[in-house]
């Protein structure tokens, strides 16, 4: 989603008078507080998921509701302990999370850590490719839009940005598949690799689950090209969504910084307008973009759910839906805990980078 009013940070003028911290608080204290904030964030998300999931039913009914009568179901549910007071189950669950024990999935009987690793690496790969697309498409186009502000290219690019955002990712995916896989037949319609390549990568002794790396390890250039070909359409579908956000953000911020004294000074020195955009206005505009990337992680992970389903990309988002349908509490909680950690960590890292780039955020 396009995030509102993302502008470079500054020690705000209208800060609350209640603030007792001295302006020279130091970066270490700032980072420490930021870091400690990760824990309540994760705690809140994990608790939310626990309570929501428990109100939606149990995994046994989900699997066998069409086969067994209510008495047999009730007995199984009781054996599994899902009929105990929910608060006790909650405390128990928190204890497990605290000790880092994610348990074994109920519906597929696999260790949650393994599920997280297998599907997590797939999602990480997809999100990484998408970010590349988003950067390559979003940032230059944003600068172009800012340069030709209020001219035809700007209008065109802005509508393009909105369209990227407005088109549901599965609709865009469908169109991409139709054009490139069915009509032109130059790209595979779905999956992460063709079967031959996957079998080759399966044989690797230490697979990472990230196909790009595994493909390199096989040493077969065909496998690598195969894997990359499969990544093009999903990366485009998800990447363009984010590119729209980046485009808008770069444009807004470059236009904003173009009006600053520092750029005006450069302009008065006779630096040409394009160079102004490219160097002088662009760099300060970077900070909000970095900030937004942190927020985009949540969006990308959410968007990945639909992209993964559309393109058979077996990642976290895709299995999460399956696990929700199966009411596999253990698996859902594990995955959401991981998502929470990723989102919290990426926000933390973004804060650090922002603080390093712009000393004014440090107090």
């Amino acid at each position: 989603m396009t995030t509102v009013a993302m502008k470079p940070p500054v020690p705000a003028a209208g800060r609350s008078p209640k603030k007792k911290t001295s302006p020279g608080g130091g970066i270490s204290r700032y980072l420490l507080i930021r870091f400690l904030l990760i824990f309540p964030t994760i705690f809140i998300l994990v608790s939310m998921v626990f309570w929501l999931m428990r109100t939606t039913g149990d995994p046994i009914t989900a699997a066998l509701g069409g086969k067994l009568g209510p008495d047999q179901l009730a007995e199984l549910i009781s054996n599994a302990g899902y009929d105990r007071p929910i608060f006790i189950q909650y405390v128990e669950y928190l204890g497990q999370v605290f000790t880092g024990n994610f348990g074994t999935t109920i519906s597929t009987n696999r260790p949650v850590s393994e599920v997280l690793f297998t599907y997590g690496s797939a999602t990480a790969e997809l999100v990484f490719y998408s970010l590349i697309v988003a950067f390559i498409v979003g940032i230059p186009l944003g600068m172009i839009a800012a340069y030709w502000r209020d001219k035809a290219p700007d209008a065109f690019l802005r509508v393009f940005a909105i369209l990227c955002y407005a088109t549901p990712v599965f609709f865009a995916g469908l169109l991409l598949k139709l054009v490139f896989a069915v009509w032109f037949k130059i790209l595979p319609p779905s999956g992460r690799a063709s079967i031959g390549s996957e079998l080759q990568m399966q044989l690797l002794p230490d697979k990472t689950g990230i196909y790009f790396i595994d493909a390199i390890k096989t040493g077969d250039p065909m496998v690598l090209s195969d894997v990359l070909m499969h990544a093009v359409l999903p990366a485009l579908a998800l990447g363009l969504l984010t590119a729209g956000v980046f485009l808008r953000l770069v444009r807004t911020n470059v236009i904003g910084t173009l009006g600053t004294d520092y750029v005006n000074a450069a302009r008065s020195r006779g630096v040409n307008e394009f160079r102004l955009v490219r160097t002088h206005a662009y760099r300060p505009a970077l900070i909000p973009i970095i900030t937004v990337i942190g927020l985009q992680v949540a969006l990308l992970l959410g968007g990945a759910v639909l992209t993964e389903t559309t393109f058979e990309w077996k990642g976290l988002g895709f299995v999460l839906i399956e696990f929700i349908k199966a009411r596999d509490f253990v698996a859902v909680q594990g995955i959401v805990a991981l998502l929470a950690v990723i989102v919290a960590l990426s926000n933390f890292i973004v804060d650090i980078i922002a603080a390093l780039i712009d000393p004014r955020v440090r107090y």
């Binding site: 509102v4 009013a5 705000a12 609350s16 909105i162 088109t167 005006n264 759910v305 929700i324 998502l339």
Partner: protein, 363 residues
């Protein structure tokens, strides 16, 4: 203070209708910006009119499968009695697309109303009272913001409606999950304004004079927040529609005999496309894209007009540096618009990253 000034500097000569929201902005805008705003308004207007007059416009009912000549037949090509053909289930595509606008508008209205009330209330409370409540709310909102909306919507759908995919349940599922995700955005804006205004001298003096400070807060906060609210507002609406469509796509949509829903129809027709049946997916897909496009165009235009740095100049000049100064004058009335004097005042060259005052001194 800005807001007080703006109250007293009402331009008495401007006729009332030009001071109405939207109309004012259209008058204020120039060139491409006006074009985008007007285009957005037209699309949105058509959408709203379609929703209102759906019973008159649609040739058939949304769940109608037969007329006096028997069943329509499935997957009929466009033409004849069915201008846009029929779906795999034998529904008339045109009627489903037209009726779908009602469902779309319902989910948007519910989502926006819920988010605004909850977000504004929480933001006011948090900013006004401060202290530990404030800190807790900020952390909770940050955490919730990180939760992928679609996943929340799936679980919410099950929790809210007990999994019944009727009209009310489907709309509430999408709307409430979107509300949960958007509350933090309203919260941030409102809270930042509250914190700022609370410190203003006039609030103190009003309080001394015996006026209810809560009422003052409310009025001024809202007045100032109108600068960023329209964009959040429209994002909120489009995100609600996209989430509803996403729910429909992964199979948690609204049951077709309860209501027409574009995402559901799109999901149902995905497999048609590879068989050369394009009409059943294209039109609901286009409907989603167009509506989100229209609303986003309006939102972005309003946001730009409210932000002096982004507002188009009436007389385009080479020197971008004077935009901020000239635009206010060029924009005409300084009062009723969300930009106005406040826009100038609260737009330092580098304002806050988030319009929020972080109780943990971050960002």
């Amino acid at each position: 203070m800005a807001t007080l000034t703006s109250d007293t500097t009402h331009s008495p000569k401007a006729p009332l209708w030009t001071r109405l929201p939207i109309v004012h902005q259209v008058r204020q805008s120039v060139g491409l910006q006006r074009g985008m705003l007007v285009a957005g308004l037209i699309i949105t207007g058509i959408f709203i009119l379609t929703a209102i007059f759906a019973p008159l416009l649609a040739p058939y009912g949304f769940s109608q499968l037969r007329d006096e000549n028997g069943t329509f037949g499935a997957q009929l090509e466009p033409g004849g009695n069915h201008l846009l053909g029929t779906t795999v289930g034998g529904y008339d595509v045109l009627s489903r697309v037209i009726w779908g606008s009602q469902t779309a508008i319902a989910v948007m209205v519910v989502a926006v109303v819920l988010s605004i009330f909850a977000g504004v209330a929480l933001g006011l409370v948090s900013g006004y009272f401060g202290g530990w409540l404030d800190r807790v709310l900020v952390v909770v909102c940050d955490a919730v913001y990180a939760f992928p909306a679609l996943l929340l919507a799936i679980v919410m759908g099950i929790v809210i409606s007990g999994g019944r995919s009727d009209l009310i349940g489907g709309i509430l599922a999408a709307a409430i999950s979107i509300t949960v995700v958007f509350i933090p955005q309203y919260f941030r804006v409102i809270r930042a304004e509250t914190v700022r205004i609370k410190a203003e001298a006039y609030v103190e003096s009003a309080r001394v004079l015996g006026a209810s400070s809560g009422r003052i807060m409310f009025r001024h906060v809202l007045r100032n927040a109108t600068r960023t609210l329209p964009l959040i507002f429209t994002l909120n609406a489009s995100e609600a529609l996209l989430t509803l469509a996403g729910l429909g796509f992964i199979g948690f949509g609204i049951e077709p005999s309860s209501a027409a829903e574009w995402g559901y129809d799109l999901n149902k027709s995905l497999s048609d496309v590879t068989s050369g049946i394009w009409w059943s997916s294209l039109f609901p897909g286009l409907a989603i894209v167009l509506v989100v496009l229209g609303i986003t165009l309006v939102g972005e235009s309003l946001n730009d007009l409210a932000d002096p740095r982004l507002r188009s100049r009436r007389a385009p000049g080479k020197n971008a540096g004077v935009v901020a100064a000239t635009s206010v004058v060029a924009g005409g009335t300084l009062t009723a618009g969300p930009g106005g004097v406040d826009g100038l005042e609260t737009s330092p060259p580098l304002p806050d990253v988030h319009p929020n005052d972080d109780p943990f001194e971050a960002k």
